[in-house]
């Protein structure tokens, strides 16, 4: 078995016991990148030089007998909307094609102090708006299970890189499903943490009240390890929660006896592919066999979640993306006549169509005369959805649903119909609207060999329980299967 194929939890032991060096591992991963990146296109920027330097540093520390984090020396890829000091952060947009942040996102400082080796920056939908990574200004990323297909999005690069073994683990961001949906399409594990558990400082904002950074990996334990490293209060993020978090990976426990699983009927309706439905139901049965109890529940407002999501996220996005005006950083149009023209040209040439569409929608729903009918109503619906979830969590421990209604679709298949594209988020957006944690883990492969994911949703700050349930399931059914590339 090649080093790049192994999981972080094993590699961590091997580095610690000096069976391998981080440098060997890092070189192995970059070798893999060289071999398959041409087919996958997961990365926007590679940082081999610094990665090797960091790996050597870690090896020196271990040789000196230093006690290091379990993530020390592990190569990790970072979604390109997370600010990395001195390393280009483009959000896959022409608008930021040359932008180099002068500061680190808080998560990057945390990873740095955990001695993680950063391989580079991963492709995504422009400004995280999209579900296929086709909205990248630079190039589409391909699904390692079928390179004619999309990897999902917006964290498509993060999921594809991990699935293709071009990174051991990665960071993505999730506003409406952007970690879980590509994780599902690429057969990896992806965790969207509780809103407020991971600092957003340095994450280029799409929708501030919904965005959350989270980990992707090939097994539950790897994801738990990364989550332990990045979770925590941050005084630079006023929305980050004041609380302590356990060491999720050390506390992993596969015992699900007595776990109460809710299965919401609204998530198994007509829009869901029968094979996906069946696979998820089978997975739930497996957990039941392990001693969990299963109960059908109802979350009636689910139907409106997508509308509520598109209003809130677009409204916030229209404001968050207003700062890209060609004055302080990023793209400025070459020819313009005066200030307003400079603004309009820079923004029109710098943003792609999907971004413009959302900015327009967001501007519209906030504009005078429409605020109450759209934005305010969406916020009221959000409160209702939150209430429905918290009512259910009085009764069940976790809720199981499909992550995405279908398996990965072909590149170009949905690009002409925004609504069809939006519909792929139907199972995931409610979680962001409610601020809850959720995890996607592979649970089946269809006849084309394409992965299907199951989504487990928990109450606020119940990441440990979610990880435990996922871990139990993984132990039982097996998880990631390496694609042929």
């Amino acid at each position: 078995m090649e080093l790049f194929e192994r999981n972080a939890c094993d590699l961590s032991e091997m580095i610690k016991s000096r069976k391998i060096s981080s440098k060997e591992l890092t070189e192995s991963v970059f070798g893999r990148i060289k071999a398959v990146e041409g087919k996958v296109d997961a990365y926007l920027t590679l940082d081999k030089e610094n990665a090797l330097k960091k790996a050597e540093e870690v090896d020196a520390k271990i040789a000196a007998g230093e006690e290091l984090s379990p993530l020390a020396g592990i190569p990790m890829g970072i979604k390109d909307n997370i600010s990395t000091k001195g390393l280009k952060t483009t959000c896959a947009s022409k608008m930021l094609y040359n932008y180099v942040p002068p500061f680190n996102a808080t998560v990057m400082n945390k990873l740095e102090s955990n001695d993680v080796v950063v391989t580079g920056k991963l492709n995504m939908d422009e400004f995280a708006m999209g579900s296929s990574t086709e909205n990248s200004h630079f190039k589409p990323t391909r699904n390692p299970f079928d390179t004619d297909r999309i990897p999902g999005g917006s964290s498509g690069g993060s999921a594809a890189a991990v699935a293709a073994c071009e990174a051991i683990v990665s960071l993505g961001s999730d506003t409406g499903g952007s970690i879980r949906q590509p994780a599902s399409y690429c057969g990896v594990v992806g965790l969207k943490p509780t809103y407020g558990s991971v600092s957003r400082y340095g994450l280029v904002a799409f929708a501030s009240s919904l965005d959350q950074i989270g980990p992707l990996g090939r097994c539950v334990k790897d994801v738990a390890m990364v989550q332990s490293a990045i979770a925590g209060h941050d005084r630079y993020d006023a929305t980050s929660a004041y609380r302590e978090y356990p060491d999720f990976s050390a506390a992993l426990n596969a015992d699900v006896k007595g776990l109460k699983i809710g299965v919401p009927k609204e998530y198994f309706g007509d829009g869901i592919d029968p094979f996906v439905k069946q696979s998820v139901m089978n997975a739930v049965k497996e957990l039941e066999r392990l001693g969990a109890t299963v109960k059908e529940i109802s979350l009636p407002s689910t139907d409106y979640a997508l509308s509520s999501y598109y209003i809130i996220s677009s409204a916030e996005a229209s404001s968050n993306l207003a700062r890209f005006d060609g004055v302080r950083y990023g793209f400025r149009a070459e020819d313009y006549d005066g200030l307003v023209d400079m603004y309009e040209r820079s923004r029109s040439e710098g943003f792609g169509d999907e971004v413009k569409r959302r900015i327009m929608l967001g501007t519209f729903v906030l504009s005078s005369g429409f605020y109450d009918a759209y934005y305010k109503k969406a916020k009221l619906l959000q409160r209702r959805i939150q209430q429905e979830f918290s009512d259910q969590f009085a009764d069940v421990d976790i809720i199981a649903t499909p992550t995405v209604p279908t398996t990965a679709f072909k590149i170009g298949q949905n690009t002409d119909d925004p609504l069809k594209m939006y519909a792929t988020d139907i199972c995931t957006v409610t979680v962001n609207i409610a601020g809850l944690p959720a995890i996607s883990i592979p649970c089946a492969y269809d006849d084309k060999g394409l992965p299907v994911g199951i989504q487990l949703i928990g109450g606020k700050f119940t990441e440990q329980r979610l990880l435990n349930s996922a871990y139990a399931f993984e132990q039982l059914v097996g998880g990631f299967k390496k694609p042929q590339l």
């Binding site: 952060t89 400082y201 280029v204 904002a205 929708a207 009240s209 006023a238 700062r323 302080r328 200030l339």
Partner: protein
């Protein structure tokens, strides 16, 4: 009333708070430093940065709220006001729209001796914008300095309760002195630490309020007066010539003395306010609100009335002292000793002290004057230990040196001679030497008395108590 019209004025006053750091980042809040030297990724609006609210800003705004008799909304939120301009890096200003920190207050001002109550609609917290630099030398471009971005502001919105530019000026001066009393704003007009937007309308008596125009860029109180007067004249002449006043935003050009429309109606602003998602609800504990209320000193507008009523000061003197934090403190401290009449102190404070401060450019804090040495001085004069002329000499010393009044009197030999036998001796000598004047007086030329007293004072080298001296001479002249 101007030319048969009633004038209605409301003011939106922005005051920069003198906190150590900015409102949403830990950059230094300081005026006048090198361009773009007091900025960081947060106040520059770099992608991914987030705001964190400075607790002092909330405290200061609540203090002002108490001072202006407002209800304090101890549970409130912040909102984004969206618009594009190069001095606004995020393209939105974090402000408060729906629920301001303070609302429904009032302030009593004194216009020509009459008390008048001006309603305060609200006080909210928000961030300042940067500055654009213009020059013909820049060849078609403007330069942007972001140092001021994120300087904390409170915006104080008045009800349309003012009826003349004079009232507006007094209102602004009252706000300024209150801000100074609370110590929350430097109130340096030349640095723009207080600025206001003026809403003006006119109407015929008995008719409803007219359409108002909003005038921005009013950077001094005198400019506010000029701007209002101009705008009133403009609106009246529009109405008189049969036109209608437009609801519009205008910019006051103080150099040219005119207001000009800022933007046309078709691109009317739509700020698309919505709750700031990067910040949670502000919740101030009731105890904190009460604590802040207790910390509010007696405010200048209240002080003025008290000085007039309690100490019989005239309004001009009362206002002058009350509007200066340090003069009022000196005066109040002296008065609490409850020894002498207010006049004994105001003579010195409004006379020699102010003259000295004006001449030297020093503040009261720069001098050595304090309630103790001033009271000692007043006491020495009232006890007739020294003369008024001697007092002036002592005063000049205690302004600059840490010396006891009694020591100065002794050092300079300023003590008046009141001892009868010593004075009688002087009188006898002088009367003997000035026989002509004595005869003049006796012959009915009463002004010869002044001459004789003067000669006695001279002979005593100024130390004689002049009142007593006069008494003795009168007795001797029989």
């Amino acid at each position: 009333m101007v030319k048969g019209y009633e004038v209605v004025i409301g003011l939106e006053t922005h005051a920069e708070l003198n906190t150590e750091s900015k409102i949403y980042c830990d950059c230094k809040n300081q005026f006048g430093l090198e361009v773009n030297s007091q900025v960081c990724p947060i106040c520059m609006g770099m992608p991914g940065t987030l705001p964190t609210l400075n607790e002092k800003v909330v405290d200061y705004a609540i203090k002002m709220g108490h001072a202006l008799n407002c209800n304090i909304n101890r549970i409130c939120k912040q909102d984004r006001k969206n618009y594009f301009y190069p001095d606004l890096p995020k393209a939105y200003q974090i402000s408060q729209a729906e629920v301001p920190l303070c609302e429904n207050g009032y302030v009593d001002i004194l216009v020509d001796g009459e008390e008048k109550r001006i309603g305060i609609t609200r006080i909210h917290i928000e961030e300042d914008a940067g500055k654009l630099l213009h020059s013909d030398k820049f060849h078609g471009v403007s330069l942007v300095d972001l140092n001021r971005c994120g300087v904390p502001l409170i915006e104080i919105v008045s009800e349309p309760d003012m009826r003349s530019s004079q009232e507006a000026k007094v209102y602004l001066e009252t706000l300024k002195s209150i801000l100074q009393y609370l110590g929350i704003c430097d109130c340096k007009m030349q640095e723009g630490s207080i600025r206001c937007d003026v809403n003006v309308s006119v109407h015929k008596p008995g008719e409803p309020f007219g359409t108002r125009s909003e005038m921005k860029n009013v950077n001094s109180f005198s400019a506010a007066v000029r701007g209002i007067d101009y705008e009133v004249e403009r609106q009246i002449s529009v109405l008189e010539s049969g036109g209608t006043v437009e609801q519009e935003t205008r910019r006051w050009d103080d150099d040219k003395g005119v207001s000009v429309p800022m933007r046309s109606k078709e691109d009317a602003q739509d700020y698309r306010y919505f709750p700031e998602p990067d910040l949670l609800t502000i919740v101030v504990e009731q105890e904190r609100v009460d604590e802040l209320k207790k910390s509010i000193p007696e405010l200048p507008n209240i002080k003025i009335l008290r000085y007039v009523k309690q100490f019989c000061l005239n309004i001009k003197d009362a206002t002058f002292i009350a509007e200066s934090v340090s003069l009022a403190k000196l005066f109040d401290d002296c008065m609490t000793k409850d020894k002498f009449h207010a006049k004994c102190y105001t003579t010195w404070i409004l006379g020699d002290l102010v003259k000295y401060m004006n001449a030297t450019g020093k503040t009261l804090e720069d001098t050595k004057l304090n309630p103790e040495n001033l009271t000692e001085l007043v006491e020495a004069i009232e006890n007739k230990t020294i003369s008024n002329a001697g007092g002036k000499k002592v005063f000049a010393v205690i302004l600059e040196a840490d010396k006891k009044v009694s020591d100065i009197i002794e050092e300079q030999g300023l003590a008046q001679v009141s001892d009868d036998s010593a004075l009688e001796k002087i009188a006898d000598e002088v009367l003997a030497a000035n026989e002509k004047s004595v005869n003049d007086y006796k012959g009915g030329k009463t002004n010869a008395l002044g001459y004789l007293v003067g000669q006695c004072m001279k002979a005593s080298k100024g130390k004689a108590n002049p009142g007593k001296m006069k008494e003795i001479i009168l007795k001797k002249l029989g």
